[in-house]
Symmetry: C2
Subunit: 232 residues, 2 copies
């Protein structure tokens, strides 16, 4: 089964037009033609079952035959992590977090991070393909913040803040019921600086031990998301 | 903390000689010199705390100051998965499985797999660096088998066989106590063929649902290993 993505504005009443690379993929790679059925999402929870009306060189015209509105999982999960300098590792972490079910990804530059330029356009296309691959109907948003305080102050409000910490042996006990949003933070490569640590204390996060072996930043991010998604 | 790896034969009484790339890394990149302390493992569970005696261009001579014998976690986990055609995804799965704690990795060519050549030398160096990175003292072995029946018949004996299966909604209940070895199998890209499915039934595996979204092969492998390592 293939899922296709269009921007919400590309859905007009009963019609959808797919342009660009996605259209070329449908016509040239998958060789779909008039009358074939495809499933499309707008990334806002809508699933559109469509029939192909017309295939042109760079545009595919669809008619919506049936539509379904999905609801997002609860609690919504934000993954917040330091930028990983190696692009393939960063993209892997983002891809896996989307496959496993996060709603939002916040990246920040840690004080101890090695500097690396983030290609936001590439990250966005990673997110779109991971959404399609995993058959999700919600497109997670990606934010790149210049430091930890922007990452937390802009995105952790009204969430339960859970901090993966290598220095704790056991996770905090926590039985305070179901929060509606979780904010999962994984330290940057090179670890938190002491001022970052001090800053985080203000938010009174729940400390979570990833346990066992020393993990790379992207591994920590992936397993943390998987563990909290499964608690839902 | 840096951990270095030598082949068991490179440990002679109280002396260790590190050669090749690892020696160049110590002398040129880390710029260690006589008197510095390093930690070395032979991948067989031995941790050697050493002092550098002499640094030559391509060899570093060490004296063992102290040694410790680690015991392997129980149960030992084998990850068995189809070969992933894209090399970076395959190497990523192998790296993460080692970081998270597997003892053995068995790769096989599925009937529905797209053919891809496996660079065993690259996989071995991936395994060594992941072991060092995660501060483990046991070097997992990697086996590449030509089909599923070789993979299972050679490696699943005397293990508890757990099969990740997209087609089951819930995992089998299982309370039969602690087995000493787990054999975790993840289906190949493209899924099992019907003859592969029939073959697997002979082994009466426990079916395990990864749940939720459709996962790529490498994601399934990573989260499955993480979940079973944590049950230990």
């Amino acid at each position: 089964m293939n899922l296709f993505y269009v921007k919400p504005g590309d859905v007009q009443g009963k019609s959808i037009v797919i342009d660009g690379q996605e259209a070329i993929h449908i016509s040239k790679v998958l060789r779909y033609s008039e009358g074939d059925q495809v499933i499309v999402t707008d990334g806002l929870g809508n699933e559109y079952d469509c029939k192909i009306i017309n295939v042109k060189k760079k545009s595919v015209y669809l008619e919506i035959v049936n539509s379904e509105r999905h609801t997002e999982t609860n609690p919504k999960i934000t993954l917040c992590m330091g930028i990983i300098k190696k692009r393939d590792r960063l993209e892997f972490a983002v891809e896996k977090a989307v496959e496993l079910g996060v709603s939002k990804i916040v990246l920040f530059e840690g004080e101890h991070s090695q500097k690396g330029r983030v290609r936001e356009d590439r990250l966005e296309s990673t997110v779109v393909s991971a959404m399609k691959q995993s058959l999700r109907f919600f497109l997670p948003e990606v934010f790149v913040e210049k430091n930890i305080s922007d990452a937390v102050s802009k995105h952790a409000e009204n969430t339960k803040f859970i901090l993966a910490d290598e220095t704790v042996a056991k996770s905090d006990r926590d039985k305070k019921g179901q929060p509606s949003e979780l904010f999962l933070m994984v330290g940057p490569e090179g670890g938190f600086s002491s001022s970052e640590r001090e800053y985080l204390k203000n938010f009174n996060p729940t400390f979570y031990s990833l346990g066992g072996h020393r993990l790379r930043a992207e591994t920590a991010a992936i397993v943390m998301v998987d563990r909290f998604v499964r608690l839902q």
